[in-house]
């Protein structure tokens, strides 16, 4: 019952996004899209932290939109109908935004030190338990855990930097 769990967080999500992306004036469609994706995801996979997942999806959608706006504004600078173009881009089909989303995450994971990156890949792509990751890489579970901790810190910094760049 993910929607029931998530809807009470809408006001918080709105405030969270507004504090990070002040240049976006209307989060309505974006939040709805984030809800749809989270619910869709929860139907197929178990979400260990649905609220965090919802917020992460919403943040990525904001980054997508701002990055896209920047590119379009640059390319169509001086064009009379540039604003119409931007509006159209915001309503771009979900599949394209997904691709952008993947690009953001790929860059985030590639920014990690090698050991961190390998552990992130085994955990998040292949879903291996920490013990199996430790065996696979010939390291201790404790090391896996501490590398995850390092990676989390670094990826958070990476996302913050990305937010600053697009805002």
């Amino acid at each position: 019952m993910v929607p029931d769990e998530l809807y009470p967080h809408e006001a918080m999500l709105r405030a969270w996004l507004a504090s990070r992306f002040p240049s976006i004036s209307d989060f309505e469609d974006l939040i709805q899209e984030a809800y749809v994706r989270t619910v869709k995801r929860s139907r197929n996979k178990h979400l260990t932290a649905p609220k965090a997942f919802l917020f992460a999806i919403a943040r990525n959608l904001c980054i997508d939109i701002l990055r896209r706006d920047k590119v379009i504004r640059f390319e169509f600078l001086g064009e009379l109908d540039s604003l119409a173009v931007i509006d159209k881009v915001k309503g771009i089909p979900e599949r394209v935004i997904d691709k952008e989303d993947y690009e953001i995450l790929t860059k985030a994971i590639q920014s990690l030190p090698k050991k961190c990156r390998r552990i992130f890949t085994l955990r998040k792509v292949y879903g291996l338990p920490l013990k199996q990751i430790a065996d696979e890489l010939n390291i201790s579970v404790k090391t896996v855990e501490s590398q995850i901790s390092i990676g989390i810190k670094k990826t958070r910094e990476h996302f913050m930097k990305l937010q600053d760049e697009v805002s």
Partner: protein, 181 residues
């Protein structure tokens, strides 16, 4: 739980960031009863701790969708799936190789074909004008194939303007360069 969403992400201390990221990693492994109590204590110590934990939880949850990249046709997990491929040595140095080859080619042509056609002060020389697509072989077996209006040089003594275009140079040396300019 309080509202962690409105706390500024930059207002966390280094210690809070360190602890929050560790707690997220421990949650991933699974908390023991003792750890659960310790985590709850840590949260209740300071409301900012909860916000900081949530920020890191969001960072970690961002990657939940990555399982969609899992290659269906490869059974052993590949930890280097996202490794950035370094540029090969050839690709790295290729621009310098091309430049060096072009300079050598120009120098060679200057040596073999320079013709003085005017007075001593000023000359205009055609270094080489080949027939289109005619292939020329050098002593070492290297070759170059020139297009129409390929090579032209002019200028005063000591000041030469060499233009090279539409030439294909192939070195005879093993592993040598092949260059198109």
């Amino acid at each position: 739980m309080s509202d962690p969403g409105n706390k500024s992400p930059s207002s966390f201390s280094e210690e809070q960031i360190e602890q929050a990221s560790q707690w997220v990693a421990r949650h991933e492994r699974g908390l023991s009863e003792e750890e659960t109590r310790a985590f709850e204590r840590w949260l209740s110590e300071n409301p900012i701790n909860e916000a900081c934990f949530f920020e890191h939880q969001v960072a970690w949850a961002s990657f939940d969708v990555m399982d969609e990249w899992k290659p269906a046709y490869i059974s052993p997990p590949n930890p280097d799936l996202f490794e950035s491929k370094p540029k090969s040595m050839w690709r790295k140095f290729a621009p310098y190789g091309r430049l060096a080859a072009a300079v050598l080619l120009g120098f060679f042509l200057l040596q073999i074909s320079l013709q003085k056609t005017g007075d001593a002060e000023m000359f205009v020389a055609t270094i080489y004008r080949s027939q289109t697509n005619e292939k020329h072989f050098l002593d070492d077996g290297s070759s170059f194939q020139a297009g129409d209006k390929t090579f032209k040089a002019s200028g005063e003594m000591g000041l030469r303007d060499i233009r090279i275009a539409e030439a294909v140079y192939k070195s005879a040396a093993k592993g040598g360069v092949s260059v198109e300019v």
